[in-house]
């Protein structure tokens, strides 16, 4: 029977769930103006963010070990809630402009955020599975939200491949359960370390890894990403390209470092190879893209490769902890920069869905210097050029890889970053050196999004130590 402490571990999630259900009903029964729904959504997210901050320092598990609340979950939850807030901010103007303003958008987004939060808190493979589905299913619907051909196509592609990857995760969990007689992460590790290594467990862990590799879009499981990111409504792409990625990596970290420490040790070369391959393929294919959404999609694949670098187990405990802290740091940097860049893309997208080619950015700097400056910051940050968060994040990542003895991996990271400069700089060149007549949409929420993320990208990078220390304390898993 649950104790009050059990509810305390899940308090933010429970509050947000209740709020979402209430909001769903309010929206269909009472609210006529959908801006009110947006404000209420943001309010719920902010409230939950406050509750999450109150959890800082606490560390418990609840509901018979089904969920856990520790520094890591608090860190990821706070990040996801900020992502949700940014997601609401970029969506508000966008869905109004594309004529698909319906209150369900916000409730679906909230359900997805709840799934992402549960993912970071789950301590049992059942919870991992439910959280995965809770975050994915609303995203399938959101991807098809605007109901034009591209959007529906993105929805069905995302759905079919998402369901396919779910199949891998579930079957992997079944095999792990068969090998260890438990789905609890701590019991799995206790069993695995007390008995001889079993083939069943290794195959199960590998299948789970494949399933999550689909979710975070690393090569060779990235094929769906460009199509889905391009076809989905841009506001949805902004939200899912960062939120789903953070959640996927959080689950990978939780499952593999808690339940399968020995197996993930054996997998280190495989993970390093996948990471290198992802960086190479993502960055090289991005060079030939002319559509900004597709370019950013390949860029997000490439960044999954950089982040995966942090999850290669480096053997030495201190180095691994540092590496994971750098990974968390990079997730924050990626979330801010990525949202900012997509906010600018949303501003330039026209009502009919054009304005998405790289050439549509020509001449932006002359007419709208502020937006152009913000976009420049985001592009520099994605390259890893100072003074931006992206540069600091990459520095930490490469340092960790070097300390772990993976010099080649770090080298590939540096070289692919140089390659990436080519296509990111093309946007900047278009904005500052070509003539054109772009007319970005102005909206208070959207303007706030790109200006705040741009300022944060620069300011935090000037004193990154603070954030890195936060990430380091978050690494200690319960």
């Amino acid at each position: 029977m649950p104790q009050p402490l059990d509810f305390a571990t899940l308090q933010p999630v429970i509050v947000l769930s209740v709020w979402t259900c209430v909001l769903l009903l309010l929206d269909v029964f009472l609210i006529k103006r959908k801006s009110i729904t947006a404000v209420l959504t943001a309010f719920g997210l902010a409230l939950t963010l406050g509750l999450t901050f109150m959890q800082v320092g606490a560390s418990n598990d609840g509901f018979s070990g089904m969920v856990v609340q520790d520094g890591f979950s608090t860190f990821i939850n706070a990040l996801q809630l900020v992502g949700g807030l940014l997601g609401v901010a970029v969506a508000h103007a966008y869905i109004k402009r594309t004529g698909s303003e319906r209150g369900e958008y916000y409730t679906l987004l909230l359900f997805s955020v709840i799934g992402m939060m549960l993912m970071a808190q789950s301590n049992d493979l059942i919870m991992v599975f439910i959280a995965l589905e809770l975050l994915s299913i609303p995203l399938y619907v959101l991807a098809a939200f605007t109901r034009n051909t591209e959007s529906e196509e993105a929805g069905i592609k995302y759905f079919l491949l998402g369901a396919f990857s779910t199949g891998f995760v579930v079957y992997g969990i079944a095999l792990v359960y068969g090998a260890t007689a438990s789905t609890n992460l701590h019991e799995i590790v206790a069993f695995a370390s007390s008995s001889s290594p079993s083939l069943l467990l290794t195959i199960g862990a590998a299948l789970i890894l494949v399933g999550f590799a689909f979710k975070v879009a690393v090569v060779p499981f990235h094929m769906w990403t460009p199509d889905v990111y391009q076809g989905a409504p841009t506001a949805v792409t902004a939200f899912m390209s960062s939120g789903a990625k953070v959640a996927g990596f959080a689950a990978l970290l939780r499952v593999f470092s808690v339940a399968f420490p020995n197996i993930s040790m054996d997998m280190a070369p495989v993970l390093a190879a996948i990471s290198a391959l992802t960086m190479i393929v993502g960055n090289i294919v991005a060079v030939s893209q002319t559509n900004i959404k597709r370019m950013l999609a390949y860029s997000s694949i490439a960044h999954a490769g950089y982040i995966l670098m942090a999850f290669v187990p480096y053997g030495d405990a201190q180095v691994s902890a540092d590496a994971i802290a750098s990974g968390l740091f990079y997730l924050v940097a990626y979330m801010l920069t990525n949202f900012g860049a997509w906010a600018v893309v949303i501003a330039l997208e026209t009502k009919s869905g054009s304005g998405l080619e790289l050439s549509d950015y020509s001449g932006l700097a002359k007419k709208y210097p502020a937006i152009a400056a913000a976009m420049t910051i985001f592009m520099l940050s994605l390259i890893g050029f100072p003074p931006t968060l992206g540069m600091v994040g990459k520095f930490y990542l490469f340092r960790a890889a070097l300390q772990g003895g993976y010099t080649t991996l770090a080298l590939i990271g540096v070289i692919t970053s140089l390659v990436s400069a080519f296509y990111y700089l093309r946007v900047i060149v278009n904005m500052y050196m070509r003539e054109g007549d772009p007319t970005p949409a102005r909206d208070l929420w959207l303007d706030l999004t790109w200006s705040i993320t741009a300022i944060a990208t620069v300011v935090v990078s000037l004193a990154p130590q603070f954030l890195f220390v936060l990430a380091s304390t978050a690494v200690m898993l319960k």
Binding site: L160, A163, T166, G167
Partner: protein, 100 residues
């Protein structure tokens, strides 16, 4: 008693059949049926293992897989119907307006 191994082998065969079905078939409905086959292969494995270990965790997991699969069906079929209305075809080779 049938040995647990046989159930696991059967479930592995079903899982691989499902995975291959997803990869080679071109009709989203059949792809989706293949996905369901993968999920139910996992269910079979769960139940067999639960019996072997003599604990209930596996059976509980099956409940959750079934309910979540129902939710996926609802979303997936809705998407397929929408696509069919728009295109009058649900061959995945015709779903190709996104390229680059």
């Amino acid at each position: 008693m049938v040995k647990v191994d046989y159930y696991i082998i059967l479930s592995a065969i079903l899982f691989i059949t499902g995975a291959l079905g997803v990869l080679v078939r071109r009709n989203p409905l059949i792809i989706f049926m293949s996905v369901e086959l993968m999920l139910n292969a996992a269910n079979l494995a769960f139940v067999a293992f639960a019996n072997m270990h003599n604990n209930l965790d596996g059976q509980i997991f099956v409940f959750f897989v079934m309910t979540v699969a129902a939710a996926e069906v609802a979303v997936g079929l809705a998407l397929i119907v929408q696509i069919f209305k728009a295109k009058h075809s649900i061959n995945v080779d015709d779903i190709n307006s996104l390229k680059g």
